[in-house]
């Protein structure tokens, strides 16, 4: 559930007592109409709060935690598990790591620590939401989230496929999986890794800790999933083209 407008306005008054709505919109890059609409509807999007908090050089995580519905985020957050960290590495970075560990004859450096490969791209990546849920899923997670939130499993799956997840569901998923609350917020792109309090080298360290077998199997899974997505899209484009050729 988005943040109640009343609590949001109270928060805004506390953190920026002298700023006008116009100032807030200018520094945070939010359209005035967007903010006005959210206030009128009585529901302010979490991303709005994060943008403003960021612009005011505050901690978005702490600000989010100051609202009742996100009170769980307060305090020292549980650090992300290695599986969660690896899930936030882009598929192409995983493949690069595979090559980088291979023999120089195949373009690799043969190094274990991948010290010479370029830095990992920041989260989120193109399939970060689904990969995150897969990383923390014990097989029953989706059912537990669905039971706890009342969101139908197929709606939940549709969000994952679209690489989206509402912050509320992201937190509910983390709660149901018993992991730290920041993982989902990073995977959905609401918070950056730094804002979530993840150490800057955490992802690289988790990647380096993977054995060659683990890394290769994981990269293979990702590649297979990507191939499936691409093939489905190609098939859909083919279908669409055929419709337009015959009926357009």
């Amino acid at each position: 559930m988005p943040l109640p407008a009343k609590a949001f306005q109270h928060w805004l008054h506390v953190v920026a007592p002298n700023a006008s709505t116009a100032d807030i919109c200018r520094i945070s890059g939010i359209k005035r109409t967007t903010l006005a609409q959210q206030l009128v509807r009585g529901k302010v999007a979490e991303s709005t709060l994060v943008s403003i908090s960021r612009a005011l050089k505050r901690s978005p995580l702490a600000d989010l935690a100051s609202f009742d519905s996100y009170a769980e985020l307060a305090g020292r957050p549980l650090p992300p598990t290695p599986a969660e960290l690896v899930s936030q590495i882009a598929t192409m970075d995983l493949l690069r790591a595979v090559i980088s560990r291979s023999a120089p004859a195949y373009g690799g450096y043969g190094d274990d620590g991948s010290a010479l490969t370029p830095a990992l791209a920041p989260a989120p990546h193109a399939t970060s939401v689904r990969n995150w849920v897969d990383a923390i899923d014990d097989g029953e997670l989706r059912h537990r989230v669905s039971d706890a939130t009342g969101v139908a499993p197929q709606n939940y799956s549709a969000q994952l496929t679209a690489n989206r997840l509402s912050p509320e569901l992201a937190v509910a998923t983390a709660r149901a999986a018993g992991v730290g609350f920041t993982g989902g917020l990073v995977a959905t792109g609401l918070l950056t890794e730094a804002e979530a309090g993840w150490p800057p080298e955490a992802k690289q360290a988790a990647l380096d800790a993977l054995s060659d077998g683990e890394l290769t199997a994981l990269a293979g899974e990702r590649l297979q999933a990507l191939g499936k997505t691409l093939r489905r899209q190609e098939h859909e484009q083919e279908q669409t083209k055929k419709i337009w050729e015959n009926l357009g």
């Binding site: 899209q233 279908q239 055929k242």
Partner: protein, 247 residues
């Protein structure tokens, strides 16, 4: 109510036809233009005033109503072939283009022709209905003539329902699915119009609504298909291409 429906359908058909003129001149998808042309012709004959005008020119013995049925059959046949081809529904295409489809078309034509000559009556369809109300002559065959005229369209529409439903439920671009939904509605109404023809004449309003809703669904659906292709940019619908994963 009836006049409004008749003229509205004609107007929509004419608009759709005019929209497709530039493409037809360029030689692109002339079949769809042909479908819309036949559809417009049908809707011209479906307007009572225009019908009487044309029928008088043809001798005034209701031959026009028979011609109208044949035109509807031709339109529906073309729509069926094109839609099944476009949706890559090979089995449905085979049903319409193959032996079963030809038998259905032949029987449909035979049924309307037989019903028409059995009716052996003069005057416009309105006249027929008036006679039916009086209970005079063979006019109680009129609903059967109407029903016979809807058998083949109902058959084709029934075949189209499954592939259209699949297209609506697919993850194709939204406008394409909207077009499929409209054609699906048209098909559903076309199927319904067959039993509707045999309902008591006090239900005339509903009968006409079903009939014209079917025509409008098909025509507007085709326009939406065309429009979706028109505004589609080549880079559209690319959510997870390799380029995005290059990170």
């Amino acid at each position: 109510m009836r006049a409004t429906l008749e003229w509205a359908t004609l107007l929509v058909c004419c608009a759709a036809l005019l929209l497709r003129v530039p493409d037809a001149v360029r030689g692109r998808n002339r079949t769809v233009f042909g479908i819309l042309f036949l559809g417009t012709l049908c809707s011209v004959l479906a307007v009572s005033e225009l019908y009487e005008l044309i029928d008088r020119a043809l001798g005034g013995w209701d031959l026009t109503s028979l011609i109208l049925r044949y035109l509807v059959f031709a339109t529906v046949l073309l729509v069926g072939l094109r839609v099944t081809r476009g949706l890559a529904a090979d089995r449905a295409h085979q049903l319409i283009a193959g032996g079963i489809g030809r038998w259905a078309l032949g029987l449909g034509c035979l049924a309307v022709t037989l019903a028409f000559f059995l009716m052996d009556s003069y005057g416009s369809p309105e006249g027929l209905h008036a006679q039916a109300a009086d209970g005079a002559g063979d006019a109680d065959l009129a609903p059967w003539f109407t029903a016979a005229g809807r058998t083949y369209p109902a058959f084709v529409s029934l075949v189209l329902v499954a592939p259209l439903l699949a297209a609506v439920r697919s993850r194709l671009p939204r406008l394409v699915r909207a077009g499929a939904l409209l054609v699906l509605l048209g098909a559903a109404f076309a199927v319904l119009s067959l039993p509707a023809a045999l309902t008591p004449s006090s239900w005339a309003g509903a009968q006409h609504f079903v009939n014209y809703a079917a025509a409008l669904g098909y025509v507007v659906g085709l326009v939406v298909f065309w429009f979706s292709g028109l505004i589609a940019s080549p880079s559209g619908n690319a959510r997870a291409t390799l380029r995005r994963n290059r990170g």
